[in-house]
């Protein structure tokens, strides 16, 4: 018996390009690659949950068919970071011949923006040397984090956030299949909290359905209340109020209890800065502070020290906002 897939994000992940919702233009271009049986190096950029990894998988299924296994390798740069992996695993895969009629393999490198500049340089050389036998699909949130020479060697695909209709359609489809009663206000609530992120929408739906037969606004907000810790916002507010020591305590909780990486924290802080109640001009100044620390974190040795510095800067900003 084939074991049933338990996570709905996987169970309902599209298997063919044409099943991918919304990203019509992207899908058209990718389908033409399949028709021509050729592919340039690609850079898939876009926010989480917009179908980047799925598109790479579907593309490979359709190009390779039964030879998918040996010809497609998915690596995650945030797990396999560093120059060593590029030098060995990637190279070993890239330089050997493909099976079947397609003369190249595909290597999808997820979260490629986690690679250091040195590793990207090594990657660039590998991409160049083995173009004949291997095409790369680099998957990132921000294309700007990829070095210029790699960007110029790739066809860029920008994945926009998914529309409300597309997510709603998927939610209804899954609920039907799973026998979940999904109320209209439940859909609204999921759409609101998922911000165009399909993965978050589906996970929210699945978790909310665990509370009972029907998914409504209450069960959805119960899920998001638990799943999205308020700690980031609280930390931000504490530091702006000048309570550095308590803010730092919250920081430690986020890094340790929630297992967030320093980059995750900065990303979430950045997202929050535009939601908090401060003068508009200060929102940009705060973003500037966040950006500087984000940069220093990529150069520095200790994320915790850099993030503490971020909170100290916020304390000062908070004081100055108070004076205005």
């Amino acid at each position: 018996m084939v074991e049933e897939i338990q996570m709905w994000t996987e169970k309902y992940r599209p298997k063919q390009l044409k099943q991918i919702v919304n990203q019509k233009e992207i899908v058209n271009r990718l389908e033409s690659f399949v028709a021509q049986k050729d592919l340039p190096h690609c850079l898939f950029a876009g926010p989480p949950g917009t179908g980047k990894t799925t598109a790479a998988l579907c593309l490979a299924y359709e190009l390779f068919g039964e030879y998918f296994q040996g010809n497609f390798l998915e690596l995650n740069a945030s797990d396999a970071r560093g120059i060593d992996v590029i030098r060995t695993t990637v190279k070993d895969f890239a330089r050997t011949m493909s099976l079947g009629e397609i003369p190249f393999k595909i290597l999808a490198l997820d979260e490629a923006d986690a690679l250091t500049t040195e590793a990207q340089q090594a990657l660039r050389r590998t991409m160049e040397r083995f173009t004949r036998t291997c095409r790369f699909i680099l998957i990132v949130n921000y294309s700007s984090r990829i070095i210029e020479p790699i960007q110029s060697r790739c066809a860029l695909f920008r994945f926009p956030r998914l529309s409300r209709e597309d997510i709603a359609g998927m939610l209804k489809f899954i609920s039907d299949k799973e026998g979940v009663k999904l109320e209209d206000e439940g859909i609204e609530a999921v759409l609101y909290v998922s911000e165009g992120d399909m993965r978050r929408a589906i996970n929210t739906l699945q978790a909310a359905s665990a509370y009972g037969e029907s998914v409504n606004a209450d069960s959805v907000y119960k899920v998001t209340g638990k799943a999205r810790p308020e700690e980031v916002r609280e930390m931000l507010e504490l530091s702006l109020r000048g309570d550095f020591v308590q803010a730092r305590k919250k920081l430690h909780e986020l890094l340790i209890n929630y297992g967030l990486s320093g980059v995750d924290v900065v990303r979430q802080v950045h997202r929050e800065t535009f939601n908090i109640d401060i003068p508009e001009t200060w929102k940009v100044r705060i973003a500037n502070i966040v950006g500087e620390i984000d940069f220093r974190m990529s150069e520095g040795a200790n994320e915790e020290i850099q993030l503490s510095a971020l909170l100290a800067q916020f304390s000062l900003a908070g004081q100055e906002i108070g004076k205005t």
């Binding site: 995650n76 699945q206 995750d264 040795a301 510095a309 800067q313």
Partner: protein, 419 residues
């Protein structure tokens, strides 16, 4: 110095090992009833350092008349090495089936980095082909890189040794060595060791060199020595007014600078309460850390002096408003939290890796995008939780972590048994 007391007073048989009765009987049972076709051919003993894992294996082997073939973390542990030492010992039994053997792979968490590439795989293949029981020890088996290894092992947890038990062992040693000592002194040593019997015995030996009597004063001085030097440096640093002197003070200690930067980070807010001071001081320590990163990433050791200058004088001279005052320095909470939560963090990352394997994401992606929802499902729907646990191939300890509490965990375990 004569023989280390940890060697001299090593238990010779299982009956002399203290603590962990249940784990010990599992160990002996495993060795006694081991068969080539057993479903789990290896035993993984895990727990914090100094609670008797390795010693127990030796004691049990002695009781049963087994010979031990050992590899430990100090050996270079790549594929070749493991197969050469243990692999041959594992399969050569048929030639001389005189005496039973146990293969001991000590401190598997010593496996790391490129040097040990393939090490885990090598151990697994040795386990599969072994003609002898294999016992592994580890401090923290929840690291994702061991997830495949765990499937081949029966897991046995060793707990910390309770302070009264440690005290009894110390007392026995003192009696044999002819050292006069009060119970309260041994109590202090035992508490200090936090469940690490080996550390307690080592402390006792270090303290009682050339002595026939041990007092509370000896113990207090011993444990405070190291901490005190950090306090002194911090006091001079935050109180100083001359950049050169401050830098000299901080760089002349034997405290490691990577630790020092955390001590400074922890204690800045105690010396500076003004937001401008705080922000300036943190800008300096943040710059120091950037230089530290450049040193680490690019081996530019010449940059080290900037690290010292920025983190010491740079931080200290940012204080312009707050008056100098006495501060009771705190141990870096970040480091304390890190070491307290090491096991939790590896469990999280193990869970993340298992999710990532099935859901096309990284280990941290698994933790960020899936784990919060799994926690909700585990709480609300044990039946589904059981199915999900099976789907991700989660081990019991990982299920317990996601479940969050005992009651939920029990419910899920019950559902799993029904499956």
């Amino acid at each position: 110095m004569s023989l280390p007391w940890t060697e001299k007073y090593k238990p010779l048989g299982i009956s002399e090992v203290v603590g962990n009765e249940k784990a010990l009987s599992e160990l002996v049972g495993f060795l006694r009833s081991w068969r080539r076709d057993a479903s789990k051919k290896a035993l993984l003993l895990y727990g914090s350092p100094g609670n008797g894992k390795t010693v127990s294996v030796y004691a049990a082997a002695r009781d049963l008349g087994f010979e031990i073939v050992e590899v430990n973390a100090s050996d270079k542990r790549n594929l070749e090495m493991i197969q050469r030492t243990i692999g041959s010992a594992a399969t050569m039994s048929s030639l001389f089936p005189v005496k039973g053997k146990v293969l001991l792979i000590d401190e598997v968490d010593g496996l790391s980095g490129t040097e040990d590439r393939g090490g885990v795989g090598a151990i697994i293949s040795v386990i599969k082909s072994s003609e002898h029981p294999i016992v592994l020890t580890a401090n923290n088996p929840w690291d994702p890189k061991f997830s495949s290894l765990r499937q081949y092992c029966e897991m046995v947890s060793f707990d910390k040794i309770r302070a009264p038990t440690v005290r009894k062992v110390l007392r026995r040693i003192c009696d044999r060595e002819g050292i006069r000592v009060d119970d309260s002194v041994l109590e202090a040593l035992a508490t200090n060791a936090e469940g690490d019997l080996r550390a307690a015995i080592n402390d006792l030996q270090a303290l009682s060199q050339n002595k026939t009597e041990l007092t509370m004063e000896d113990v207090v001085l011993y444990s405070r020595d190291k901490i005190r030097s950090i306090f002194e440096v911090l006091g001079k640093m935050f109180g100083g007014s001359e950049a050169r002197l401050i830098v000299d003070d901080v760089s002349s200690t034997d405290v490691d600078y990577e630790l020092m930067i955390h001590w400074i980070n922890e204690n800045i807010p105690q010396h500076m309460s003004d937001a401008k001071e705080l922000s300036d001081a943190y800008d300096m320590i943040s710059r120091a850390d950037v230089f530290l990163g450049r040193i680490k990433n690019r081996q530019h050791w010449g940059l080290l002096s900037y690290v010292f200058e920025l983190m010491s004088a740079g931080v200290s001279l940012s204080r312009t408003v707050t008056k100098p005052h006495f501060v009771k320095y705190q141990f870096p909470s970040w480091i304390r939290n890190l070491s307290k939560t090491r096991v939790t963090r590896s469990k999280l990352s193990s869970i993340g890796t298992k999710i990532g394997n099935k859901c096309h994401t990284s280990s941290s992606g698994g933790v960020e995008h899936y784990l919060p929802y799994l926690e909700i499902i585990f709480q609300a729907d044990p039946k589904r939780a059981a199915k999900i646990s099976k789907f991700f191939e989660l081990e019991d300890e990982l299920i317990e972590k996601i479940a969050g509490d005992k009651k939920t965990h029990n419910k899920i375990t019950k559902e799993l048994k029904k499956e």
